[in-house]
Symmetry: C2
DNA sequence: CTGTTGCATGAAGACCTCTACATGTTTGTA
DNA sequence: TACAAACATGTAGAGGTCTTCATGCAACAG
């Protein structure tokens, strides 16, 4: 389970998923969108695939990726929501042990 | 944001948070519950504190930790829910590019 | 003040992860 | 078949993370 959640623990994967949340995209499109090398994107997509977060379909020479289902989109939304909430509340109460 | 979500990306922190979701606990209680050294627990609690996920209050010689608010509990629930869903769906469709 | 308990923190080492480079594989083209 | 395009994958190195050990700090007892 930690492994699954770790999929959202990296900037690059979060960018990829956010991009896919808008609409499906090919690997090269993703690479350009998130400003990463094709190789790096493929590696991350591999992990996301194994975790069941995304899905890839071949069309000719390119492979189009998309979020696996609405569940994933929802997960992303909730993650953003909570992260935002926490970011605000966690301002400086970090060190006040009280 | 990736940093925030990374809090849930580790087995140890997930255990700590799950334990705290039941009820507040002191550091030593946590250490015993999750079977980790007190030092390791403190280190993780530090990170969770800085992220605003937990809150610690001193009572005499011990410090009692608790989830920061209901929001965090909800985040945990949703994480578990989605993780479970994904785990089931991601069975073997990992390699079928179609 | 001295000692003890409970927790925090600094440092180091083992381990894991991410990226870049090179190369392999599949699909389409001529 | 030879070649190019779009991805996938093996590998290695840089960088980050987690745990352990040692130590420091705060609170209470005597």
């Amino acid at each position: 389970m930690a492994t699954t959640l770790q999929a959202l623990a990296t900037h690059s994967r979060l960018l990829i998923l956010s991009r896919l949340r808008e609409s499906p995209a090919t690997v090269s499109q993703l690479a350009e969108a998130v400003e990463m090398e094709q190789s790096a994107v493929s590696h991350q997509l591999r992990m996301l695939r194994h975790l069941g977060l995304v899905q890839g379909r071949r069309s000719g020479r390119s492979v189009t990726y998309a979020l696996h289902d609405n569940h994933v989109a929802q997960l992303l939304d909730e993650a953003v929501f909570h992260a935002e909430h926490l970011r605000l509340g966690a301002r400086d109460q970090a060190d006040e042990t009280a």
